[in-house]
Subunit: 219 residues, 2 copies
DNA sequence: TATTTTATTTAGATTTGTCTAAACATTTTT
DNA sequence: AAAAATGTTTAGACAAATCTAAATAAAATA
């Protein structure tokens, strides 16, 4: 059994290793865990002893098969709980992340399976992230960032890659919610901000926002 | 904020102080927490520093007002989650205690209130225990143990005072579930076992079982 | 390539919650 | 009321997860 802390490390290593290829750096983990690099070194050594990560000094870490399974299972729980909070308890999508961070550590396979069934085996969480199935399979997202669309291209918002309440509230206010169709006009060269048509109206969003909107291109 | 461990101590002190009057003994807490008396001494000192308990060396502990509020809130969460598990996720009443022990430590008032509303503001958990309201008020149970009924007296099972899976499974099998009516015939002097009429049939249950069945007497 | 900068690890401490063994207090028994 | 039994606390130690400061390795730069 892994401690809550170990589970959090595994989850963060999992997420970081999807962001870029190659092993995950100590400092990157320290940033995400709100700890110091020295603490990460210690913990990573411990995870390596438990065969959850491969670790070579100064080279960073990768998840072992066992670590991967554990991490994906935590992600699965996190996302299922988020669906529960939004669909069943009527939370808003910007309110659920922190609560799901706690719920994901509750340890009962039976609970997860019953919850999954109750929710109707959802495929995506409220932010559009895919929910791994019981076996750990995840639908590979074939999405592109909004700022990678071409001028005049249309698309549907299917996910976000930033989960902070501040960001999600902004999207809510701007009507940039999941399932929304839009058309890109152009990307401003100077600041990377994006002009687009939403609901017939022309609006402008910053590059910061655009790069966290995941799109399914439409004709 | 209290740690999960501190919360568990408070909860146990709360339950023990309902079982008998006067301060709660160190050894009693040690039994329930699966720790040693020495560890309890340490923790109790810490809780006293945080003004959660009143503690006099060698005399045991009582909850302060603040400690009481904290403990009742944990009990409230525990019982609400049990209702959720049974009513919403179709768990059996003997499967929910351990899972609720984990869920009760999830820290979000909003979550508790939304859950309460979703469940329809239940008054009792699946074992018949009263659920404290948001302000911490608990319906005072006016129930008596089955082995305190008088010969020929009738009653309805409204709760249990033992939550182990083994006990609850036995009740399930014997059809001694909540809401069931029965009539006491007599209590055997030798071993305290109880003869009673259930569903028109005469059965016998041990004293151990009888004392954990909470009854509302009926005419 | 030598030097500087950045990233990482080690060494030694700290906090939390636990333990064992020994000391001490209280209660019960004789 | 003294002795025995029971209950409780203290002292000292340990594992987990963290920290700071110092040392070391790797990468970037001149």
């Amino acid at each position: 059994m892994e401690s809550q802390t170990e589970e959090n490390y595994l989850k963060i290593i999992y997420h970081l290793s999807r962001l870029s290829a190659g092993p995950v750096q100590t400092n990157a983990i320290a940033d995400r865990t709100q700890t110091k690099p020295a603490s990460v070194s210690d913990m990573v050594k411990k995870l390596a002893e438990k065969q959850l990560v491969n670790y070579v000094k100064y080279q960073g870490v990768t998840l072992t098969e066992k670590g991967q399974v554990t991490a994906v299972n935590i992600v699965r729980k996190h996302r299922l709980w988020e669906v529960f909070l939004v669909d069943t308890l009527n939370f808003k999508w910007d309110e659920v992340h922190e609560i799901a961070e706690e719920l994901e550590h509750v340890n009962s396979n039976l609970l997860v399976e019953r919850l999954d069934r109750f929710l109707g085996y959802p495929k995506h969480d409220p932010h559009g992230d895919p929910i791994p199935d019981k076996e750990g399979n995840i639908e590979e997202a074939s999405v592109i960032k909004l700022n990678k669309l071409l001028p005049s291209e249309k698309g549907i918002i299917v996910g976000v890659s930033e989960h902070s309440s501040a960001f999600l509230k902004y999207l809510e206010k701007t009507k940039l919610t999941l399932g929304t169709s839009l058309q890109l006009i152009e990307i401003t060269e100077f600041d990377g901000s994006v002009d687009l048509i939403l609901d017939g109206k022309k609006i402008n969003i910053s590059r910061e926002v655009a790069k966290h909107l995941l799109m399914k291109p439409a004709l």
